[in-house]
Amino acid sequence: MKQGIGSEAIRVKGWFAAHQWLLARRATQFAVLALFLAGPWLGYWIVKGNLNYSLTLGVLPLADPYVLAQSLVAGHTPERNALVGAAVILIAYFLVGGRTYCAWVCPVNVVTDAAHWLRARLGVPGSARISRSTRYWILAMTLALALITGSISWELVNPVSMLHRGIIFGIGAGWIIIVAVFLLDLFVAGRAWCGRLCPVGAFYSAVGRFSPLRIVAVRREQCNDCADCYAVCPEPLVVKPALKGAADGIGPVILSPHCTNCGRCIDVCSRDVFAFGARFSNRGNPLAGAAEQAAAVNVS
């Protein structure tokens, strides 16, 4: 019988080393939340606002470019601070990888990871088929709605801002939406929300399309085909081209914009195949294999 995901890595590297990126990620998620809560809970106003817009130390504006895009489409021209804040976020996530937001900052990630963990634990059978490209249709829909209604419609139901704002400002009945996301991921389809539906993630995928910070299968020749990386990856389709594409001339860099840079593949690999690196690691041609990888992802 096959042992649990990452058990070999734990045996070889030790529990801590086999969970270091997961721990770093949880620490970051909670640290971000703690920064936002230090003001309202303890009176230390380091960060004011929420993920839609915040002001750090009274000088650094940060704004969600996706919400701002909807506002622009709705016909409103925002003031300077919102525009500067969105620009800072766009540049930052371009550099570290768009969906790094999903894995390292978004509070819903904790909810959906918990649902995924419980789903595996309970052995929930079957999974509704929801295409991984559905999120782009939802993204398009939210922008179309903003255009048609002249209102940021998506923010009426967006679980991401609902949860984050809810924790900081009070959630009301918003927890119903969060429970719905949890149940969706638990019973309807694995990784349904973050991996298939969420337009916020889809937006950040686009932001990180050409991001330099990537996970690289640097020692892919050491792979022993245990498939733990596929099993642990929230976007399993992104792994294969980089890991197994040597014969087809595909470089070892995971170039798919769907990769969330969560680093779990690094954790669970007992052979240290994966590491954080730069997209330029595909020597000579930084876009080597990009088309093939994109194609592989879109097949879903």
């Binding site: 925002p78 829909m141 002249g150 801002s161 009301g172």
Partner: protein, 226 residues
């Protein structure tokens, strides 16, 4: 997808209808425009020194995450430096509002003449005392009290060209349920037909009566005065 979109569009339409007791912060743009501009960040809530603002939550009949206050719970204190507007990053609260007396959050209406203590002949006028623009936004208009014919009634009267809709009058009203309340201006204000002229003003402009002689029209007195 179309179904979801249509549902959300209809929900958006509903969210545009603000409940009448919900008041937006000073400088808030008109409701449909406000919902396209507000980032739901809560910066105005944080910078309100009197903590009267809150962000709407799911389950309340106001667009989720947008700022509001309820006058009966706590009115706008009309800070001269308007920190909520300064805090707004998007311009959903109009940054060109620099004089708080020009804010138009709503319009106070003395809605219930049957319970207002001044209408009952008392000298309550707490709303008038509480008004930050006393004698401008609310004046007391003297009338004869028809019950005694000897006494006066001082009727609190709101002037729409001055009232900011801060809600201090509504907050201060001593009744169990307030007789004066801030309503959205679209609900509170009437509008004359564009072709209407006020005879007494036209007469002043013309410098003479507009009609020569006296016109005698039939008297139509209300039933109660017969």
């Amino acid at each position: 997808m179309t179904l979801v979109g249509t549902g959300l569009a209809l929900h958006t339409g509903q969210a545009k209808a603000l409940p009448p007791e919900v008041i937006r912060p000073p400088g808030a743009r008109a409701e449909p425009e406000f919902l396209g501009a507000c980032l739901r960040c809560g910066m105005c809530v944080r910078d309100c020194p009197y903590h009267i603002l809150d962000l709407a939550k799911l389950g309340q009949n106001t667009a989720v995450g947008t700022p509001y206050f309820v006058a009966r719970g706590g009115p706008c204190e009309m800070c001269v430096d308007i920190p909520c507007v300064k805090a707004c990053p998007s311009g959903a609260l109009d940054p060109t509002l620099t004089d708080i007396n020009r804010a138009r959050m709503g319009l106070a209406v003395l809605a219930d003449h049957e319970t207002c203590l001044n209408f009952l002949g008392l000298r309550c006028e707490v709303c008038y005392r509480a008004c930050p623009l006393r004698d401008k936004a609310i004046t007391l208009e003297q009338q004869q009290n028809p019950r005694s014919s000897l006494h006066a009634m001082f009727i609190p009267t709101v002037h729409s060209d001055q009232c900011t809709g801060c809600g201090k009058c509504e907050h201060a009203c001593v009744l169990e349920t307030t007789a004066i309340r801030v309503l959205p201006r679209r609900l509170a204000k009437g509008e004359l037909g564009g072709h209407y002229r006020l005879g007494w003003e036209e007469q002043k402009k013309a410098g003479k009566p507009l009609i020569e002689g006296v016109m005698d029209l039939p008297d139509r007195m209300p039933e109660t005065t017969k």
